[in-house]
Symmetry: C2
Subunit: 582 residues, 2 copies
């Protein structure tokens, strides 16, 4: 037996017990006649003491040879510690060692196995198995497991059934790129890895399964942005005989349960906002509503003077930064530089200081008088002491720029509190979005999303204005889930394929089975999918998903630890009936 | 709102309630003035009644148009049923319908949606979404979900952490063939889909995670035997600081818990048997021990006479079939034909009838006297009334043949009771097995399995005799799990790679990261993996895994419903830097 207890378990009440422990050597202190070793395992750290007077000489000698991260097994008795350490739960005791066995030696690790390590991202990824020994990573993985269990148990209690859908499916050109898998047994043919189990979960609804969920890996062969992974995990859900309201209610319940259970925080409100409102008020379809700085549109009150920049702009819009009136000229200049960075892309920024005495001082005093500026303050909700920041230009762009500024100021002012949770439903998403590259409309969500029945007549005249029964769940400025009520009749689905530029043949070749299925009694249905990696990260009070994935890939889609992808044998290619074409 | 209740929910206590239901039309009976409809959803069937006297005329007229599998929504009141149906929980009530809405029409399904359907396997697979509406398939999927939840909750309670390992990994030529995935971003390189998370779970142990599990999809590009799938699900587990005994204990606990919780059956014994014993006594490394018919080896008592067939044989071995002495000559001839079928492959069969009066009558009376046959009876454990069946030939083959006969007789005699559960550990598997094709030794389990320390010296002289710290969990004649204590030091791992014919370069290229990891303090560790599909099937009292998979593939690895795999665009191939080579 390798251990009677874990390294996080022993307390003062265990004093005098004979115990066996196993673990890694965190550190050693050698005073010559006495050696202390911090022994670590998943559960904590226990101090070992090797004392010349009380420990066999050979054992003390062996203890002197121990290096960092050696794996050892010891026996000894629990004794009271002289200098207690109140920072760790085992801090009142130590083990007086009588037997020591080195289970495995260890090279000096390439970075320290400490909460604050000296290792950079790259080296930690290459030696991820050592990185996982560190508390921050280990605790993230334990946390992820807890969240997963809570999600499963909650949904199962609510009558949802977890059903595994296939990983080897069929490639569909719609949406992101598929990863494909050559089939050896079916020459010249390929499977694809699922971007989501979308069609299968819809078929399960046709199959009467009613309430489905799955925590499942999905795959997208996209050029990776920071913090995207080619394989990611989804909480995938679908329900039949439901309307949008039913789905929002159920998944409010799940979100409320998770935040309550994990964070001890009771969420009362799940406010809702239309996509149009979100864009207008926050410049963003996933606004962080933990703080204000709502957009104030200033066209009416700013385009009547000779300020050409504003007069030429499609949109003039501002936010009131709390307390910003006290910023120095230098600070404001730096802010202007910030919005002019290529990542944000504004051409400039107009500002108005709202002085404590009720007067205003702006960068455009030449054009606007105190009455004008007072109107700006009213529209942006600025109070005395605030700084109004105004951007102008093309509507779509300027909203994005001001949204970036708003988030930055929220961050700088400490308004994005990691332990505060503010969920929000954004509803009524557009059905279609224009794609500049292909010069056609794409499904914003996916081609199975149902249009709002009243908007269907607009499909021909103003396709961009058609709204969908689609919704996103936003938490603290991150989209954590998104879904829709699906089309469940063959006719509407055909109409959608038409508008997405599928020929009937293409539609049949790719989704024939779904169109077929719709002929055999498809119920009304809809669903939602949560990005599990992100959900866990946000619940963990962080925003980087990579820290919550055991073995993440880098931005080139490489696993630098195992060095994948890699070349394969010519023989293997031949069996698969493919060859390289470089 | 589509429904206030499900179709399996209403009882006599609900009489007079106004309700809304939705579901599928199971069947209709039209008596002209009155129409009954059986409405079905996931939860059951509720009878609807449309009565000319009490239901609006238009509603009755619409009801007359309903076809099988139409999806409808109704409102009405719960009333007492005149002729009660005690076969279904809702059999005491029916719904007097006042409103009817057809949510979706349905073509006549290609097979009946009944427990006993008229549809063959092929058509049911093509329309799997309709097959899932049938109770037997639906219940299997619900059952699978329940088993999955119980496994997760049990292991989680035991301190195991579910950690997701990557799906896009690296190809390794050892073992079965990998499915590979061309990488667009890394030209000329490929990911592989995991045959199991083996190396990752070992790295998690090096990472200190201690108790890991995952219910995870695995992939093998093998020529499929009946009842194998290219993608299958594993309960994958690993523990650190454990010996074989610890692992057997923990997973006995899991198995005991599942059988108790799901079947209400308390398992007392988990007998153990070495691989050698299992082969000797049952001719099989996964014996069904719910019944006897143990092998009796007869060489000593059968090779001293002039019967050339036995004298030439490497092994003469028999079983006693209970009650078989009463078989007619014709029945015995049919049994002989059965063992001579190519699937079994015996050249013939000698039999001995053990008469009730204590005398024997055999097919080889010319060579053996009553004393001889009495010895056979003693060795095979035959009682008066039994039939001793004896096969002979090359040891390996004849054991397989007699094992097949034993299983067949167990089946015929009703000894393989689906509601009886008899687990068994088979331990001390050989480390290596000879592969005729490649003419070298392969790892029987996998290359990370540790040899029994005492057997290591045999690696050079008699590699086939080296035993491993490897074990299988057998349930009712099926291997449901298998695992081993792993090698945790670099030297032994190198030794293994040598014996498996890996050059140091190959070992480094393929498993360098694991060998590296072993240098940084790997703990002793071991694990087990259960075939989840099979475990669920056996717990469900069946043996066909396909019936417990929502969307299975056929024997050519095809999903006939979505018609995958399929050809992909030349454009797509080009992006992936590959071309077809047919």
């Amino acid at each position: 037996m390798y251990r009677t207890h874990s390294c996080g378990e022993l307390r003062a009440s265990d004093i005098n017990k004979e115990v066996a422990l196993s673990g890694w050597v965190q550190k050693t202190r050698d005073k010559g006649f006495m050696i202390w070793v911090d022994l670590r395992d998943r559960y904590g750290i226990t101090q070992l003491i090797f004392d010349e007077k009380r420990t066999p000489v050979a054992v003390v000698e062996k203890a002197k040879t121990l290096g960092r991260e050696y794996v050892i097994h010891i026996k000894g008795s629990v004794i009271e510690r002289e200098s207690k350490n109140s920072n760790i739960p085992t801090g009142t005791i130590e083990i007086l060692v009588t037997e020591l066995q080195v289970l495995n030696e260890a090279l000096v690790p390439p970075f320290t196995i400490e909460d604050q390590t000296d290792g950079g991202e790259d080296i930690r990824m290459k030696y991820r198995y050592l990185d996982i020994r560190r508390n921050p990573v280990k605790n993230n993985l334990l946390f992820r497991h807890q969240v997963g269990m809570k999600v499963r148990n909650y949904l199962s209690e609510e009558g949802f059934i977890e059903i595994e859908t296939p990983y080897l499916i069929k490639s569909t050109p719609e949406g992101a790129r598929d990863f494909v898998v050559p089939s050896r047994m079916n020459e010249g043919q390929f499977y694809a890895l699922p971007q989501s189990p979308q069609t299968f979960k819809q078929l399960l609804m046709v199959g009467g399964m009613d309430k489905y969920f799955q925590i499942v890996k999905c795959f997208r062969d996209e050029d990776l942005r920071a913090d995207r992974q080619p394989e990611f995990t989804q909480i995938d859900c679908e329900m039949a005989f439901v309307e949008q309201e039913d789905i929002l209610t159920i998944f409010e319940g799940l979100t409320r349960h998770l935040i309550k259970d994990i964070k001890g925080i009771a969420i009362h409100d799940f406010p809702r906002m239309t996509y149009d409102q979100a864009i207008k008020i926050y410049g963003n379809d996933k606004p962080d509503i933990r703080f204000g700085m709502k957009f104030g549109e200033l066209n009416k009150v700013a385009q009547h003077k000779d300020f050409k920049v504003f007069n030429d702009a499609e949109l003039v819009v501002g936010i009131a930064v709390p307390g910003g009136a006290s910023y120095t000229r230098k600070e404001i200049d730096k802010l202007i530089d910030w919005v002019k960075r290529p990542q944000v892309g504004a051409l400039g920024m107009v500002y108005v200081k709202c002085n404590e005495d009720g007067s205003f001082k702006s960068s455009v005093d030449k054009f606007y008088d105190q009455d004008d500026l007072s109107q700006w303050a009213e529209i942006t909700g600025a109070n005395a002491g605030d700084l109004i920041c105004v951007l102008s230009g093309q509507t779509h762009k300027v909203r994005g720029q001001l949204s970036a500024l708003r988030m930055e100021m929220g961050e700088r002012l400490g308004l994005r509190k990691p332990e505060e949770f503010a969920p929000l439903w954004v509803v009524d998403f557009p059905l279609l979005e224009w794609d500049e590259d292909t010069e056609r409309y794409h499904a914003m969500h996916h081609p199975f999303t149902s249009p709002k029945p009243g908007d269907i007549p607009l499909l021909n005249s103003r396709p961009g204005d058609v709204r969908a029964n689609a919704y996103d769940l936003v938490l603290n400025g991150n989209e954590i889930g998104g879904g829709s009520i699906r089309i469940h009749d063959k006719e509407t689905q055909k109409l959608m394929f038409d508008h997405l530029g599928f020929t009937p043949e293409e539609a049949k070749a790719q989704f024939g089975f779904l169109l077929d299925a719709f002929q055999y009694g498809a119920p009304p249905h809809g669903g939602i999918a949560f990005g599990f990696d992100r959900l866990v990260a946000i619940l963990g009070g962080q925003e980087t998903i990579r820290d919550f994935i055991a073995f993440p890939k880098n931005n080139s889609g490489r696993d630098v630890m195992i060095d994948a992808p890699a070349t394969i044998d010519t023989e293997q290619l031949k069996e698969l009936n493919i060859k390289l074409d470089l």
